[in-house]
Amino acid sequence: MIVRPGRRLWIGPPAAVVVGCALAVAAQWPVLPYRPALAVANGLVGVLFLLTGAFLGAEDDQYGNGRLFVLAGVAWAGIGLENWGSPPLKLAGWLCSGLFSVVGVIVLLRYPEDRLAHRHQRVFAVLALVWIEGAAVAIAATAGVPTRGGRPAVLFGGAGSPLAGQLVETIGRAGLVVIALVFVGLLGVRLAQARGLERRTLTPVLVAAIAVGVVTGVRRAAIVLSDARVPAILLQLIEPIAMIAIPGGFLLAALQRRLARAAVADMVLSLTRPGGGGDVLTALRAALHDPTLEILYWVDDETGYRRADGTPENRVDGTPGDSTGPPAGRLSIPITTSTGDRLALVHMDATLTRHASVVDAALSAAMLLLENARLQAGIRAQLAEARASRARIVEAGLAERRRLEQNLHDGAQQRLLALSMQLAGLRAAVPDPAAGRLIDDASANLRDATRELRELAHGLHPAILTQAGLGPALESVAQRLPLPALITIPDRRWAEATELTVYFVACEALTNAVKHAEATRVSVTVTEDDGHLRLRVDDDGVGGARNTGHGLTGIRDRIAAAGGTWSLASPPGEGTTVTAMLPLRR
């Protein structure tokens, strides 16, 4: 599912581990008889570094850091060479000490990645290495290497000037302080920028690094200040003991990562189990510590990717995206089924790339759930499409009725009116009483035709609804009813489609009340609450209405098309109540 490098062979490092362990033991050998605790502690740190390297190297994405750890372990062991007393070995110890520091710096700066992410970090690592090793060589060539005999041994055939030596030593130490400060700054930046899983992985390591930094600083200060009032052995022991924290931190983080892989799958499964309290999205967000994680499900070629509720993906700026490319700073992982069909697209924080195995475990666990969710998203998308299409059909029907009414009004009605005016003119101009009567009859017929046409047009589309609103339109209906009607409605306007739906539903209910219910009075109540428009039509008729009649089917279809609900209560002998609720679109 996730592309990752194949497992590399782990042959070189085990050999290095064995050699390093041997070196650690050999280097501490001279100290063992008179300072056994210190020798054991120093040897232990080297071995721990080597073992941590081996442990890390076994992880797919920590291969490189594992190798560096082995190198650091060998370098630490090499530091012990200075115990052997020979000036060249003493210098080798110093060089190993520098190497150990710089390798440690690199690991701490790049972990858990396999390379230093920024150019300035690489430049810093190179400069630190050059400075530290250069200073060691320069000191050996000027001030000389201290020997057990007392007189420092100047190497490389140098003159051995004490003044030059002091100067070189001071400059070298000052550089070390600068390097240490920069290093702490870089670590601080990393910790501040880390999020989610990365922060979890980084925290034990950086805490260990800071602890070592503090302890080493305190020790150096104590050497300068204590003036040997603290037993020297304690001061010498404290550094290796603190140093154990670093491999310890890495081991803890690696252990956490291994556990995370298992835990993440468990978490996904338990959260999505019935009663687990979350869907697959919530589970993945929790398991991967990424609250911004999004899942888009593949519906079909025409629809593309959709969210779980069937709506299309929205870009950050609110415009619909083409759902192909990942948004900036995001990692996009396409998920396919076992048969290779597209299933989903998971957007997550780009830093999760460094935890490919954890992400992989989480997504594998979520696979079945994703397939289910995809089916649901597809059905929801189809349902949303069907709803939208039905709403469009109803909308088109309403628009067509409005157009017809307008045509009748502007065409036939006006012509008939003009015709009747012309007839009136003709009537005045014809003196013959018989002809006059005929014209009167024609005028009366024409008046009836005009009235019928007007009522037809009004039934097609109530012009007053569009112009004056639902209240006046319902009032106009009530005016034509043969029974008392109480209309209660707030004096305000809503979207035209909503008003028309309520109007036609009310008309249908009122028609039923008049035609079938033998009602003596009706009431129409429209209220607005909680984003809904509620219509209630009550009559005091015979009741017993069933919701299968043609008129009521019409009501149901109109309300459903507007995304609303309705109910009918019509106990025999107790009147009929029709209630409809329509969502108000914002």
């Binding site: 502007d410 007053i464 112009q467």
Partner: protein
């Protein structure tokens, strides 16, 4: 036909044939058609250029075919209060009558368009509006009286009072009502006062101007029943 000074009329109607017939009808009966408009902006421009005595306007015109006639009435009344306004409607709905009367309490008329077939009544309505009276189509008034409704305050009115209120709404003067119903003017005035009390209208001093207001208030109170 008329001894009054010649009325200058602007006709606003988007149907060409009907407008032509209206103009001919008015001209043949001694009114002067001073301008013709086919839509709202044209009507406003003609009235602004030279205000006539009377505007006869269709309620529904371009650009939007909604209630341009009412909008025109509101704007013309605000800028040229001397211009009489007669609005022709298609459907006898009370809602517009209320809007119209709220923006103009005199020299205003709201009649069903079919009325133009009855030349004499149409011309009478036009002249009465031009003379400052308020005319609401009898069809609208009748339908409202017929409209049964629960708890109608108009039910408190005696049958004779309801007849008088209907005639007031149609725009008849007290003396015309007295003649039509064979009452004395004093009786009519007394009934008008009791109608005002029944409808909860503020009592007013006797006087021509306040009388007009009482009429309008009575009609409005009545028409507004339709809204509640």
């Amino acid at each position: 036909m008329s001894l009054e000074p010649t009325l200058r009329v602007v006709v606003a109607e988007d149907s060409g044939l009907l407008r032509e017939l209206l103009v001919r009808l008015l001209t043949e009966n001694g009114l002067v058609v001073h301008g013709q408009a086919t839509n709202l902006p044209e009507l406003l421009a003609i009235v602004a250029a030279d205000p006539p005595d009377l505007v006869i306007s269709d309620i529904r015109m371009p650009p939007a075919f909604r209630d341009e006639g009412i909008a025109a009435a509101e704007q013309i009344r605000a800028r040229h209060p001397g211009v009489g306004l007669l609005i022709l409607t298609h459907y006898p709905d009370a809602a517009y009558a209320v809007r119209l009367l709220e923006s103009a309490d005199r020299a205003v008329g709201y009649i069903v368009k079919d009325r133009v077939q009855d030349t004499a009544r149409f011309l009478e309505a036009a002249r009465r509006v031009a003379a400052g009276e308020t005319v609401i189509d009898s069809q609208i008034v009748q339908e409202m009286f017929r409209r049964p409704r629960p708890a109608n305050p108009l039910d408190q009115l005696a049958p004779s009072e309801r007849r008088i209120l209907a005639l007031i709404a149609e725009g008849h003067s007290n003396s015309a009502i007295a003649t039509r119903l064979s009452y004395s003017i004093k009786t009519v005035e007394k009934r008008v006062t009791s109608i005002g009390q029944a409808l909860g209208l503020p009592s007013v001093d006797d006087g021509d101007r306040s009388h007009v207001n009482l009429r309008v208030l009575a009609v409005l109170a009545y028409l507004r029943q339709a809204q509640h």
